[in-house]
Symmetry: none
Subunit: 413 residues, 2 copies
């Protein structure tokens, strides 16, 4: 089945808000095995909304519209959808009661005449209660097509979808979709693409798609079948093949796991503690690690040594090292990692020093970064040349040092 | 002039990523005075992309496509757009050289045959250099229509738009649009809206629009006129009025200035140095500050004290304080700020300790955060209750502590 999303709202067209509803609904539809080929945003304009809905009904089985169900005259999603499907609007006594209840429980808000507009529904539709607002959701079925209207605020839309729309759509789906995200680090997108060219050329079921992230490549493998067991069976040989080809470069096959999370898990399993000694990234590595709940099992403290003086004072980097080799040097990275581990009493210390730009220093180019990892009395240093603006260089350095850390631990095994 | 946005990418259709490019581009187009009536998302599918582009060219003057310019076989935006406009693809020697240079500076990455695909451009187009990746931007003009192709990653798209596409579109616009972004901190969106309700109700030229950010509110004031001088003249009384109403809550009227940048400028002017002592934010404050070039004038080092032991060892927080009041307490925040300033020898230290969740601890609720600022032998502590998920609580804490720091310095004057 093919679904399509239409978001209605001038604030999205003006860029005042990011269309997070579309991402939420798209992910849920993918999970349901519904294919989405189009998402459209259109303003609160009758003519354009009608044209968009008609086009969507031509090409998709399920059309989900969100937004424009409010009580004001601007809001015309329901009126337009009803007209396109040839339905009259009739008063729904149940919705009227729900709206009355809602206002009874919100003494600060006053009911106004136009609130009753929200109790008018297209005849013959399924009305879905809104437990977090006054606009009910609406499901209309006609000529093998389904049109679903949802309120715009995520705080109303998401619980309604979860509770009522998801089960409704699930029972309509004949096929099951199973999808796995294979995440790689330490390899470029084009190198991955070259290594799996033959798999992509032969793909039918499962399919395989590449996504480039900063310093990472993600591969989505998707199979469809009559039931979940069969979909998983179809998937298996492809996943095995990817494991054979990429080995340890695959850091997870869990959709929701990030690189920092997988590194933390790795350290937790081995009961290792980690500290960070950051110069050019200025706390970014620590911030990424502590974004993960439970990071404190592994990560206890970090040093941000942005100046030479701080490198000397907090990390005991030798004055002569800074003088003879400069702050951006293999030797400085090495001392930062070695001393960071010693001073903090951690098993591992990762360090970063480099030039994020925009201006070159010490005759060294922007993008030159030294990353190091001290583990088991061995210090591994790597020289990197990252491209891009300041933010991209810093992000690349973060992923680079996490990848290095991973490699050091895996090599040790 | 009417513009239209087409985002190309299966990862958006699948809900893997939120379409922030559309919001970014929509806001910029609004700034240029371009009307947007439609935004569409379509996958990396030739037929559907072609249909979408043809529909867009029927109804809009400028069509901006983003995504699908990568080196892989999936990426076919350029090929499709060239075909729709009847252009051949030819090799662009300049782009080829740029790609060669890019890989020369990234020794970890290997150039592969498919990278050269990115040097092929539609004949007669304007090629726009990508300083943060390998896919050049492309502008095609035909029959009073303009088609613009941009790379999908925001880190590539945004600088390219800012630097080349914005000026290109500006000179196509007959009227001059002048716009100022008034950025506020330390005040809620609804408080701002209440305070300017009358201005919004009366608005015609200039107009005023509110954008809620985490911990900040931005007001865009836009005037249009025949020339820039006239537009600026129209703008003046409104800006004066906003200054009267919000005073020091306005931290900048510079579009590109961030809160952290304005705080760093403030400290630099006063020749003050700053250090950070972070618990729940785990380096996020330091990372935000060091994202600004030249931060080293003011910020020399930071402490990430995620565990109690680190708070004791690195920041001399008293054992009794942690035992009697807990890590998440006014007293701990105070000692972190006081000792952080002393130990580092900085003029100012800001500290943060709190619960980012997802689980409550020490009988304290998720979202409870204490922020403190030590300056001039005076320590100011503030108790905050932030809402949202872990990431939002951490972000809110960062903005909260920067706002507190600003207030402490301004009060001192």
């Amino acid at each position: 089945m093919v679904a399509e999303l239409i978001s209605v709202g001038t604030e999205i067209l003006l860029g005042n808000i990011v269309n997070t509803n579309a991402a939420y609904l798209a992910e849920k539809c993918a999970l349901l095995g519904l294919s989405i080929y189009y998402q459209t945003v259109v303003g609160d304009n009758e003519k354009r909304l009608e044209a968009t809905l008609r086009a969507a009904l031509e090409r998709s089985d399920v059309v989900i519209l969100c937004g424009g169900l409010g009580p004001t005259q601007d809001d015309l999603t329901k009126e337009t959808a009803a007209r396109v499907l040839g339905r009259k609007l009739v008063e729904d006594p149940h919705s009227k009661k729900v709206i009355e209840e809602y206002f009874k429980n919100s003494p600060m808000k006053k009911i106004t005449e136009n609130n009753w507009k929200q109790a008018m529904v297209p005849e013959g539709c399924i009305v879905v209660d809104n437990h977090n607002g006054t606009a009910p959701g609406i499901i209309m079925e006609a000529d093998h097509k389904t049109v679903i209207l949802l309120p715009g605020p995520p705080v109303e839309l998401e619980p309604m979808f979860e509770h009522d729309i998801f089960p409704y759509l699930r029972q309509k789906q004949p096929e099951v979709i199973h999808s796995v995200m294979v995440k790689l680090c330490g390899v470029s997108e084009s190198a991955v693409e070259t290594q799996i060219r033959d798999l992509i050329d032969q793909q039918s079921n499962p399919t395989i798609a590449t996504y480039a992230k900063i310093g990472e490549v993600h591969l989505r493998v998707t199979a469809h079948a009559a039931d979940e067991k069969e979909a998983k069976r179809l998937m298996k040989p492809m996943l095995k093949e990817l494991k054979n080809r990429f080995g340890n470069q695959i850091y997870t096959m869990d959709e929701h796991m990030t690189l920092e999370e997988s590194v933390l898990d790795m350290l937790r399993e081995r009961e290792l503690t980690l500290t960070t000694a950051e110069s050019l990234t200025g706390g970014l590595v620590a911030a990424r690690l502590t974004d993960i709940p439970g990071a404190s099992d592994v990560f206890r403290q970090g040093f941000v040594t942005y100046s030479n003086r701080a490198k000397r004072k907090l990390l005991d980097v030798k004055k002569s090292t800074l003088k003879d080799f400069g702050a951006v040097s293999e030797k400085t990275a090495k001392e930062m990692a070695k001393n960071g581990a010693f001073i903090s009493g951690s098993d591992i210390c990762i360090s970063l020093t480099g030039l994020a730009g925009p201006t070159a220093e010490e005759d060294k180019p922007v993008g030159l970064v030294y990353i190091a990892c001290s583990y088991n009395n061995r210090i591994t240093v790597r020289e990197c040349h990252f491209k891009g603006n300041r933010a991209k260089i810093r992000e690349s350095a973060v992923v680079g040092v996490l990848t290095l850390l991973r490699e050091c631990i895996l090599e040790d095994a």
